[in-house]
Amino acid sequence: MNDKQWQMWLREQAEAARVDLPSADQEKMWQRVQARIPTSSAVWDWKQWAVAALTAGALLIGARFTASPQPAQPVIPSQTLSLILMDAASETVSPPSEPSASSASHAPKTDAAHAAEDPKTPLEPLPVARRDAIRRHTPTPPAVTPPAPNVWQEDRTVCEGVHTWPIPPEVGTVLSASLNGRPLKTDGGKVKLRLRPGRYRLVVKGTAGEWICRIEAAARPDAAFEFTVALDGRLMVEAPEPVGREWWRWDQQERAPEEIRTDFIAPAGIHEIRRVVESPQGCRDTAVRLVKRPLSHTVRIPNVITPDGDGRNDTWQIEVSPQPTSFEVRVVTADGRTVFRHHALPVQWDGTCGDRRCPPETYFYVVRLRFSDEQQSRTYSGTITIKY
């Protein structure tokens, strides 16, 4: 026997196989099944609606021609009324009868309504008096099918990303969970979802019920931005206009977007700039950047002094801005002899070597200083000439 023949034979045998359950097991299973499936005798199809509308219209027209007012009538359940209407249209809604003793034994026949729905039980006509009493009432529209009592439906709108939600305890022991039909893991009574923008359907089935959650995941906005700092400290921000709202913070202080986006001067130093964007759906994104504006260092060292007492260039003055954290200056002669040394600002050397005036010649200086925003010291060296 080749593969095709084997397949055909096996399929034929498999499809012919039947497994009968003991009636007790079958009944137990049915009880569990019917507890979790929808039922509603109030759900009408279009034929029933048509019959109801026609009957109601006929009754209303008939009532207009009735001169005598109607006495108060007892309230008749809509269920019973629907039976009357179904009776009128029995050829459309009554399933054909089938003699089957075995299946008939399973049909619960608790009341007249159930018996009427039983396809095997012919609907007995109601007494004329009762039918008239019912017809005096305007039929009430059937109620919308209520959800099964053990099914909880919920709609959630969330932002994209990872969400961990606890499973409602009403579900009972979790049997299965799925997101858009794909099985999900449930750990410790929670479901962990990784959602991208879109619609999802979360179904968690438990021993006591079912939790159906329709999820709409909204896209998260992008708060990223670029910026440059000009030499004068002017901040130039490049950030797209947000669809929703945006907030700016400069060193933890809120600033108006207009202020940051136009003519904002960044002070020297390192600062934090933070942008928060919120979409119309309430999803937020935050971007944090550091703005570093270097200090403007100034070091001016004259290369000549004329200590002749005329009030111009009489002393050697070194200008340093901003104030350095450490400073040292030394002036030496050509043969290496130190003639001036100082460790702090300001420096005012009048061209004396000890207690005498230095000879008019060229000397060498070395200035070593360090600014607060720099890791390493700076060294300046050059010549200083004394003239008289």
């Binding site: 026997m1 498999a14 049909a107």
Partner: protein
Amino acid sequence: MHPPSTPRWHVWVSGSRKGDRVCQRRLFDHFLPMVMAVAMRYMGTYPDACDVAQEAFIRAFQRLSELRDVEGFPAWLRKITVNVAIDALRARRRFQPLDAVDCRPASSAADEFHSDAEAILACMAALPEGYRLVLNLYDVEGYSHREIAEKLGISEGTSRSQLAKARRMMQQLLKQRGIER
């Protein structure tokens, strides 16, 4: 137990769609043996098959409004049962490398079968779970190796090799029960 030549269940399907409990019960009674047979083919044990059959009926009744062609209800129900069974097997995480599974066939000397179909169910129950799954999906349900690989998360080559081993073992089991194919 077989469906009658003139099917009456299409009326019950229509009634079940409206939420008619009586029609639902009749549909359940009528198709339960078929659903149980499918579940037994996949699950191998009676309690597991009962669980799958129950879940299959619940799922079928809940989604009955999605059924377009009433005449196709039996095939639709069978497919639901197969899917429920696969889901159940996946949930149990009992997919193991098949060579690591004890492949000894169950003893069947005392078994008496009234038909080949019943014997086949018993033989399938004796197959290791992975063999049983691939054999059912390929030979009975008619899935391709690619579809099986996608459904079970295995490679096509694994599906082919498992099928070959499953067929060999199945034929051996049938031979032991006196069914020569």
